[in-house]
Amino acid sequence: MTASSRAQVLELYRAMLRESKRFSAYNCRTYAVRRIRDAFRENKNVKDPVEIQTLLNKAKRDLGIIRRQVHTGQLYSTDKLIIENQDMPRT
């Protein structure tokens, strides 16, 4: 992997994880974070530069999808699930 594609991969990884944390729906949020981590790790050892570029392009498209879905989810958000951590004052 060349230095520039390595930098791109890490930059995309960070950007996708950051964006995914902004989902308001618990399920979407946890799925996105988990899927991003698994997918990047699965393709960690790919050597062919053409394939790497294909995967990077797909990741960029997916980042766009995540951004749009985060925004849509925020427009139509519902209550938090009971299992999500709320900031509760300790007595």
Partner: protein
């Protein structure tokens, strides 16, 4: 999963550490720092608290000191499921000693960003490869006194 554990413990951590929740007033800053930092706080003359350090986030600690930063960095790292807590020390290299890779390092730096509440740019983030460097970076960026 690790990130969920990380984020859930991050939310609970300041409450566990701070004896007085939701206090973010300048007046309370002095007793705060002595309560949290068992070592290394020196008496400072008068109202010379660095205003930038006081963060008005409810439920979070407002006064930082180096010991606090170190403790929190190590705590967050211990929560990460790919790190064995026994092997972790302040100078352990992520790649060489702990066997992590660049993707893990990105996740760790993001967890630190969430914990300390400020964004670390990519160029700086890729250079932080042991806990000591992270603490030094945070101390530098947050203008924390010893």
């Amino acid at each position: 999963m690790a990130s969920r554990v990380l984020s859930s413990c991050v939310h609970r951590l300041p409450v566990a550490f701070a004896p007085l929740p939701r206090v973010s007033m300048l007046v309370a800053a002095q007793p705060f720092s002595t309560a949290l930092c068992s070592t290394g706080t020196r008496t400072r003359p008068g109202p010379s608290q660095p205003a930038a350090v006081l963060m008005q986030v409810p439920g979070r600690v407002t006064q930082l000191c180096r010991q606090y930063c170190e403790d929190h960095v190590l705590y967050i790292l211990k929560l990460y499921n790919k790190i064995e807590p026994e092997k972790l020390c302040i100078n352990s290299h992520f790649m060489k000693d702990l066997g992590l890779d660049r993707l893990d390092q990105v996740e760790i730096i993001m967890a630190m960003e969430d914990e300390f509440g400020f964004e670390i740019p990519d160029l700086d983030a890729e250079k932080l490869i042991c806990p000591q460097e992270i603490v030094d970076y945070i101390v530098d960026k947050k203008d924390v006194y010893e």
